[in-house]
Symmetry: C2
């Protein structure tokens, strides 16, 4: 997933998902990774298959098959963790693989939001505020990742934040599933929560990078 | 603007805007840079002021003041080039400044699209396809910048592409201005053009990074 990321220690880790849940997820992955190895799949081909699954799920969501879409997204998200695990298991982690994985992760997130927007505009009598919340949530998600990548580009780690990708996916999939069960406000709450959490995370990351670069500048002056 | 970017030569430069137009823009900037220096403004404060102008313009666009919004956006875009020029002129270019500038550039782009979406949903009888085109254009714009930042993170330059930021801004401002003059299809054409151009640029950049990393890997094997 992030083979090229410099190993800079995180100052804080405030994720809204307990690390135990993440470890459980990783345990489920082991047999899938072995299957992928047996089939001779490369990490990059799994990345592309994952994007394909997200496209199908987004079309399902956009055309009103919310529960099926949510189920497929869950499967796709688990698969998404497989590429990195497979790369590590086979020693095939490359800088291009890491670049492709994170770029297509963002593309998948965007495609999912396009599907949700299509459903909202087509099905809701008053889609204005839901669509604006969705736009802020999508933009916020992108900015969280962008700030991370940009900080990495200047040699700093901006790993802090309440809303990294896994957490965002859990929230949006839960919202889609609730809407699929007939409880549309659940999706709206999820979108507003994502809009708030991602915006807060972006501000947190900018602040964090400012502090890190400040510390680095002071350390330089002292030497 | 990109003080920390490694100086890797571009393999191609296929921008849709002639370089003469860009040089003309830079000539206009010189007196503004001198004014900012006289006022004692720092590059980072200009970056933040630029974002503030974009927020006001987005609110104007969202509430139907399209022509005023387009005019303000044009002024804001020129100002956006000032921070980098000022940083170079005063020797105050910092890694954090470059990080802040590009992160807030993306935020500004997103905020503008939120304004356009608000206007579309509130004013158009059939907003479905315009809103989806807008979402793809916004996501594509983000991905163009994200792929660039991510490539930079692994030490490669992904500067190729038909739709870098200045070009995207010219197209979207022209679309907003046309809609403000009463020709709404002009805005829709601009959004669809941006969706296509940015998607093509993302694919171009992924392909480009793949080739660069391939060449780097081969060079390593030969040594």
């Amino acid at each position: 997933m992030s083979a090229s990321r410099p190993h800079v220690p995180n100052l804080r880790e405030d994720s809204v998902l307990p690390s135990r849940v993440k470890e459980g997820g990783r345990a489920i992955l082991a047999p899938v990774v072995r299957l992928a190895m047996a089939l001779g799949l490369t990490p990059n081909s799994i990345t592309v298959i994952g994007l394909g699954i997200t496209v199908v799920a987004a079309v399902l969501v956009g055309t009103g098959w919310l529960l099926v879409g949510a189920a497929l997204l869950t499967a796709g998200s688990l698969l998404d963790a497989v590429d990195g695990a497979l790369a590590r298991a086979t020693g095939g982690a490359t800088a291009f693989g890491s670049f492709l994985d994170s770029t297509l992760d963002r593309a998948g997130e965007a495609i999912l939001y396009v599907g949700i927007a299509a459903w909202l505009v087509a099905s809701q009598p008053e889609p204005l505020w839901p669509v604006l919340a969705l736009l802020v949530a999508l933009s916020g998600s992108f900015l969280v990742s962008y700030a991370h990548a940009r900080a990495q580009g200047i040699g700093l780690a901006a790993d802090v934040g309440l809303a990294p990708r896994t957490e965002r996916l859990v929230i949006v999939i839960a919202g889609v599933a609730l809407a699929g069960l007939g409880f549309v406000p659940g999706l709206l709450v999820a979108l507003v929560a994502l809009a708030v959490l991602t915006t807060a995370t972006v501000i947190q990351r900018i602040w964090h990078v400012w502090r890190l670069s400040r510390t680095a500048a002071l350390a330089k002056e002292e030497n």
